[in-house]
Amino acid sequence: MGRFLLRRLIQSAVAILGTITLVFFIQRLAGDPTLLMLPEGATRQDIETLRHQLGFDRPLAIQYLDYLAQLARFDLGQSLVQRVPVLDIIVARLPYTLYLAGSALLVAVGIGLPVGIVMAVRRDTKLERVLMALVLVGQSMPTFWSGILLILLFAVTLGAMPSSGVDGLRSVVLPAIALGALTMATYARVARTAVLEELGRDYVSAAQAKGLLFRSVISRHILRNAATPIITISALEIANLLAGAVIVETVFAWPGLGQLAVQSIAARDFPIVQSIVLLSAFVSIALNLAADILYSVVDPRIRLDGVA
């Protein structure tokens, strides 16, 4: 276990370093970032001054090392527009995104898992086909459209829900449904496949022959065994929710990181955009690590040190 953990930690560290490197060089794709930071029509003099000020006239390798050292101190730089540390801006917006993504996850798991289990247990019935259609719809709805439709229906026409912004508990309902739909579909599919696989096994027949209620066979045996694939996709899906927030937050004027990213691109505030991308990459790397460790807890058959 210790050796496995160490190896996975090193792998994650390499992935993080790689991500930072990638993001650093993507920004150098168009030459140097000063051109992106200045408004159009800036004079040559302005460009040179800013370039020197920000150190972009130094060799690329030095800039790269400098950037790494800066990140190591948890210094994400200054916002070019607001002239305050990027970290402060992100910390102020983060809770909103977590609130939205958490609610969306609740919608996704709360609906997706039961739907998936029912689809597996009631295989080849009308009910399964209806639920499958629901899943396919959830999977194919672009979030920006479902968001707009939800606003049209519940906010504009019925006036039952606030259409945008954060105002109490009710305001998170519509964005959470829009954001969670795709993840809900994924959970339903994975749960269905995993439960189907377990339903065919001998222990299920044995447990039923023993006289156990089907309900308790499902809850005590099948779900426990079907948990591994569900945990695997959870890491990926949570990362997807955070990325999906970019569009959903724009549609619902939700003041989280996604909206901040879009606003910062429009304002050419690069240190913020870059920090948000790095943050979400770190979160997804950390979630994958957590999922790997969780397997061993849920499924003792998986030996983490690789020795059978």
């Binding site: 672009p142 920006f144 459209w145 999906g244 724009t250 549609v251 997804s284």
Partner: protein, 293 residues
């Protein structure tokens, strides 16, 4: 060979009923997809009007309005352009961007994945680590930051989507190549003096193509959504070129007064992506022996 197998495969009439049975649940979706493809291809012939010509007298007219003998079947947008014509040309943009970016990422991913699986060693380590890294950054954010640097536009969207999505294919190609490499016929062919190019092209590729096509189909739907999403955020195709995403984004501002502007492009997107997903699912079931349905 058993008697039971021969007629069901060889007899043309039976074969036809078998194909019909296979297609029955998905033919409406095939029809939708082919319909969109045809509309995209023949846009100049099917579109009733020029998608960019404005008529300020006919701004924000609801579907079915006739202004000076000009019928606007799906209504008009905020500068009086015909929504139907814009949607038809938007199909063109949507499908073209998706097709090209899938081509770029499939080619790149398949080649790199096959190289990693074939040569192993340093190539494997570098390529597969890179795959892990790119996959760990949420694709939409990677695309957003790259486009923010390169600038928006049709070409950049294709390039960016192609270069952010290749790891999906590389992973599949790598795994499948490893599996094929262990098979006897590969060793036999190598003993006969086949070079790397011949081994990869004649033996590895045909064996992994099925899995790659499945990934490509499902990715195609995702690329349609990504293009629309980027255009929705103003980072994709630039005006006046019509994209479903950017039409939707404008329509958002007129939700209370002109519901049709946001509704119809969304419906198009939904139908196109739904049909691609259903077709892709079916292909996965046919070609991927591990899937349960």
């Amino acid at each position: 060979m058993s008697e039971a197998v021969i007629p069901s495969i060889a007899h043309p009439a039976r074969l036809r009923t078998r194909i019909a049975r296979e297609l029955r649940p998905i033919w409406p979706f095939l029809l939708i997809f082919v319909g969109f493809a045809l509309i995209a291809l023949l846009a100049p012939l099917v579109a009733p009007y020029n998608p960019n010509s404005q008529n300020l007298l006919a701004r924000l007219k609801p579907p079915g309005t006739t202004v000076r003998n000009v019928l606007y079947l799906l209504g008009t947008d905020e500068v009086g352009r015909d929504l139907l014509s814009r949607l038809i040309y938007g199909a063109r943009v949507s499908l073209m961007v998706a097709l090209l970016s899938v081509l770029v990422s499939t080619t790149l991913g398949t080649v790199l994945g096959m190289i990693a699986g074939f040569y192993r060693g340093v190539a494997e380590i570098i390529i597969m680590r890179l795959v892990d890294i790119v996959l760990s950054i949420p694709a939409i954010l990677l695309a957003i930051i790259t486009i923010a640097v390169l600038g928006p536009g049709l070409h950049n969207v294709v390039v960016v989507l192609g270069f952010t999505r290749w790891p999906r294919y590389a992973r599949v190609a790598y795994g499948q190549t490893l599996a094929v490499m262990g098979l006897t016929f590969m060793r036999a062919s190598a003993f006969n003096g086949a070079g790397a190019l011949r081994l990869l092209g004649r033996h590895v590729f045909p064996n992994i193509a099925g899995a790659i096509i499945v990934v490509a189909t499902l990715e195609f739907g995702l690329m349609v959504l990504f293009e629309a999403g980027l255009s929705f955020l103003g980072l994709g195709v630039q005006p006046p070129m019509p994209s479903w995403g950017s039409i939707l984004s404008v329509g958002r501002n007129y939700m209370g007064t002109a519901w049709w502007i946001a509704t119809f492009p969304g419906l198009c997107l939904f139908l196109l992506v739904l049909s691609i997903n259903v077709i892709g699912d079916r292909m996965r079931d046919r070609l991927d022996p591990r899937s349960t349905r």
